[in-house]
């Protein structure tokens, strides 16, 4: 029973965190290179612009959801299962989401990297 809860929480973590990653990436791309921007307009201007971006705010909400599911999962199971399991699935979900929603050029190199990292993370759980 606890196993089902754990995997349910892991599924929520994967969905919520990859949604959050995509939204955050979208927001930060709209804002542009924050290093350059803060040298020009100051750090406060950057922060103000980031926190008023709607994609950023939605991303924050989904990441908070992922965070609380992580806390639940960690109270039910070991970090050596929850961490790698949610992370490796998130890598693959993000490679797909990056291609579909962010139109990133996910070439062979990046697919390979995502799969290698996901596989490696899965092995860490073993």
């Amino acid at each position: 029973m606890k196993d089902a809860y754990t995997w349910g929480a892991i599924l929520v973590i994967v969905l919520a965190s990859s949604t959050g990653d995509v939204l955050l990436s979208r927001a930060m791309k709209q804002i542009g290179d924050v290093g350059k921007y803060s040298r020009r307009a100051g750090l406060l201007a950057v922060v103000g612009r980031v926190v008023r971006n709607p994609f950023f705010l939605f991303g924050l909400v989904t990441m908070a959801l992922a965070f609380y599911s992580l806390l639940f999962a960690l109270s039910w199971a070991d970090v050596s299962l929850v961490g790698p399991a949610s992370a490796s699935l998130t890598f693959v979900a993000n490679a797909i989401a990056g291609k579909i929603f962010l139109h990133e050029q996910v070439d062979h190199r990046r697919w390979m990297a995502a799969l290698m990292v996901a596989g490696g993370v899965a092995l860490l759980a073993g």
Partner: protein
């Protein structure tokens, strides 16, 4: 990629690994939370380890958002995944867990994946607005739009 940008990627890695370890340590102290008492998860953040972990994860979030402002999501994620290697090393040397051969293999796989993706371009689409273009070199076989 400049040295500063590699520093930001290193920051993501360090903050994530140490933050997660502290969070895990703290949640072990808090103990199992049942769904019928779900509100106690709110008070879990009062545990010192959990609180410090959250502070470090805040550092992670800031460096992560910074990296995403100049690099693709599918670049940043693998490039900063050395944190899992770090997590295994923390487990071995600080928590005195036994790191098996399978785990070392996993570590090797992650490291080669990271090496693989950081060889390529950090940014692959549009973004001609920023001055001097950065390092958005076109990957092999990319069609140039008219």
């Amino acid at each position: 990629m400049t040295f500063r940008k590699y520093l930001v990627l290193a920051g993501i890695t360090l903050f994530a690994a140490t933050g997660d370890s502290l969070l895990s340590h703290g949640m072990k102290q808090v103990g199992s939370i049942s769904l019928s008492h779900w509100t106690s998860v709110i008070f879990a953040v009062l545990n010192p380890s959990v609180a410090l972990g959250i502070l470090l994860l805040l550092g992670f979030f800031i460096s992560y958002a910074t990296a995403l402002s100049w690099a693709d999501l599918t670049y940043v994620l693998p490039a900063s995944s050395l944190g899992y290697v770090l997590l295994a090393l923390i487990a071995k040397f600080f928590l005195h867990e036994h790191v098996t051969a399978t785990r070392w293999l996993g570590i090797a796989l992650i490291s080669s994946g990271v090496g693989f993706v950081t060889q390529g371009p950090a940014l692959t689409h549009r973004q001609s607005g920023s001055s001097s273009g950065g390092q958005a070199s076109k990957p092999f076989g990319t069609r140039t739009l008219p």
